[in-house]
């Protein structure tokens, strides 16, 4: 029995450096089998580097990777036969049709079952456009084709980098249902994303990475239970003094301004203590014009990644909030809303 038994994916002490820039600084991921795992992090935190390492496109400077319970190194490319992936933007021959692209890809790597290409074109709603050249596809259609390509060899582990990119709301709902269904059949889905609302709806387990290191990992429910958040709104001129006062209530480093929302402060404290916050501010002569309680992934994410070197290097993370919530709509990839 080892520490990585029962895991579909594990990394231990993964280091990767590009010249003088450290991309990963000892990443330890533990992805259980049969779950949807959300891999979150600000831009430049090391998400794409991790995805490239997991698919053998690049190699680590040190550390180890286990895929589906077996070591994955430079000479273990066969391990990827059971892994499907969509890394960064989907890559296709623009002059070939969607169907021809899938067939070309099916000739590489693991064996692809007969009829699988047609089955997947149907699944992602591209059957009617399968004969059209990919150069005429919209971004959303390319993304769907990319997801179909990732599913070609019916993989046990699916690695998807921003799978919702370019999809319209109905497409996002359909993708979510497809991925949930795959997880229910015992497959493991690993999603790298910064669309927090999407991950919160989809993932069972999340890992948050900042500056090349895992800063939190666990089941979403458990993480959020222990990471209550109260959001307070004060006038812009009172932000500094409010931060100081609230830090005395909830502890140093637990108060941070919410990027993009002027005057809003996020306080990591059990929601039941919201009244303490209100009282402390009132005693100091600061009257909150807004007070919200709750636990959400966004607040947790911001609290954990605020001030990380990678975040400050590439700019503040703005992939926020309710705007990421897809509108309710009919499930199915056949949304027809994509312009060619």
């Amino acid at each position: 029995m080892t520490a990585t038994d029962g895991l579909a994916l594990a990394t231990r002490g993964l280091h990767k450096r590009y010249g003088s820039r450290v991309a990963l600084a000892g990443l330890d991921l533990s992805v259980p089998s049969g779950v949807v795992y959300g891999f979150l992090g600000p831009n430049g935190a090391g998400k794409t580097t991790t995805m490239r390492l997991l698919t053998g496109l690049i190699h680590p400077d040190s550390g180890s990777i286990e895929l589906l319970g077996r070591p994955f190194g430079r000479r273990d490319r066969h391990r990827l036969f059971e892994v499907g992936s969509l890394i960064e933007a989907p890559s296709f021959y623009p002059y070939l049709s969607g169907r021809e692209n899938l067939r070309a890809l099916a000739a590489t790597g693991a064996h692809t079952a007969n009829g699988r290409v047609e089955e997947l074109l149907e699944l992602v709603g591209l059957r009617d456009r399968a004969r059209d050249r990919v150069q005429g596809y919209s971004m959303g259609m390319k993304q769907r084709l990319g997801i179909a390509a990732a599913l070609l060899s019916d993989p046990r582990l699916l690695l998807l980098d921003e799978p919702a990119n370019g999809l319209d709301p109905a497409g996002i709902v359909a993708m979510r249902e497809t991925l949930r269904h795959l997880a229910s059949t015992g497959k493991t889905v690993f999603i790298s994303s910064h669309v927090l609302g999407e991950v919160q709806q989809l993932a069972d387990v999340v890992g948050i990475i900042a500056a090349g290191k895992l800063v939190r990992e666990g089941q979403i429910d458990q993480l959020l239970e222990g990471e209550g958040v109260v959001r307070v709104r004060v006038t812009a001129s009172e932000v500094e003094s409010a931060t100081r006062i609230l830090s005395t209530v909830s502890g140093d480093g637990s108060v941070s301004p919410i990027a993009g929302d002027e005057g809003w402060l996020s306080v990591r404290i059990e929601p039941g203590r919201a009244s303490d916050i209100n009282r402390a501010l009132a005693v100091a002569g600061i009257y909150a014009s807004g007070l919200e309680t709750g636990s959400d992934l966004e607040s947790l994410f911001l609290a954990l990644t605020a001030g990380s070197p990678s975040a400050s290097h590439e700019g503040t993370f703005f992939g926020l909030a309710g705007s990421n919530e897809p509108p309710k709509g009919p499930a199915g990839w056949h949304d027809g809303g994509e312009a060619a």
Binding site: G56, R77, F81, S85, A89, Y93
Partner: protein, 273 residues
């Protein structure tokens, strides 16, 4: 094998395949038809004779192959570079590697596909060249009596095989350059620069240039009169050429070397973007 078929299916649909072949055949048509139409208007007998040499069989067979090797060499480099470079530019190599495909195997089968397409292109261009030479001879009023020369016809398979080997080497150079450049545009650009760079090298390295890839490739198909794909130095003096057998060995060395560099580079490089 499925990788080779997949590569061929990709290449037959690829616009670069038709554009490259079309350009070669188009330029050949322009030259042969122009020569045929103007041969009788040449001011001197010797210039008329030189023009008719291109259209008179059986010598025209060899000259067509030489022409294809000369200009086709450049096109071979561009074609090889375009195909290899696009795998990086479009990220399709990345997709194959992420599926567990062997990097070396993928590259070598891709090149095998290119090699087959170059072979088909060579045969096609040769057939079109023969037809154009016959038309040109008709325009010039020259005889086509040598068309059925059995000795020359007997040598054609070997000549074509040698020509294919030479173009294969030139395609491999483009393939390698674009692989290292990691880009279609850069690969094609550098490939063209290397081709013309070698032509300029005749001025500075007259003794060495015969071992360089394009000169060696042109020497693989012997042309007794030094016409067609022959090279001259800057002052017009004929350059020393390798004999066809030696040229074959040199071309083989360039071909194998290029493929080794390609596979080693692809195996070791980090794929990103």
């Amino acid at each position: 094998m499925r990788l080779l078929w997949a590569t061929l299916r990709k290449l037959v649909r690829r616009p670069a395949t038709f554009i490259t072949f079309g350009l070669l055949v188009g330029l050949m048509a322009l030259i042969y038809l122009a020569v045929g139409a103007t041969a009788n208007q040449q001011p001197t007998g010797s210039s008329r004779e030189a023009a008719l040499l291109l259209l008179t069989f059986p010598g025209a067979y060899t000259l067509i192959i030489s022409f294809i090797l000369g200009l086709g060499g450049l096109f071979g480099v561009i074609y090889g570079a375009a195909i290899a470079g696009s795998e990086w530019t479009w990220g399709t190599l990345k997709g194959a590697v992420a599926r567990g495909e062997s990097r070396s195997r993928y590259q070598l089968w891709s090149f095998a596909g290119i090699g087959l397409m170059l072979g088909v292109g060579l045969l096609g261009a040769f057939a079109v060249g023969v037809i154009l030479a016959i038309i040109g001879a008709g325009l010039a009023g020259a005889s086509t009596a040598g068309l059925n020369d059995s000795q020359t016809l007997g040598q054609l398979p070997e000549l074509l095989a040698r020509g294919w080997f030479a173009i294969l080497e030139e395609g491999a150079l483009g393939f390698t350059i674009a692989t290292i450049a990691g880009s279609q545009l850069a690969g094609v650009g550098v490939g063209i620069a290397v081709y013309f760079g070698e032509q300029f090298a005749t001025i500075f390295l007259p003794d060495i240039v015969k071992y360089l890839p394009f000169h060696a490739a042109s020497a693989v198909v012997a042309v007794s009169d030094g016409g067609g794909g022959g090279f001259t130095s800057g002052n017009g003096a004929a350059l020393a050429r390798l004999d066809p057998t030696a040229a074959l060995l040199v071309v083989g060395a360039w071909l194998v070397g290029a493929l080794i560099v390609t596979t080693l580079y692809t195996e070791r490089t980090e794929i990103s973007g």
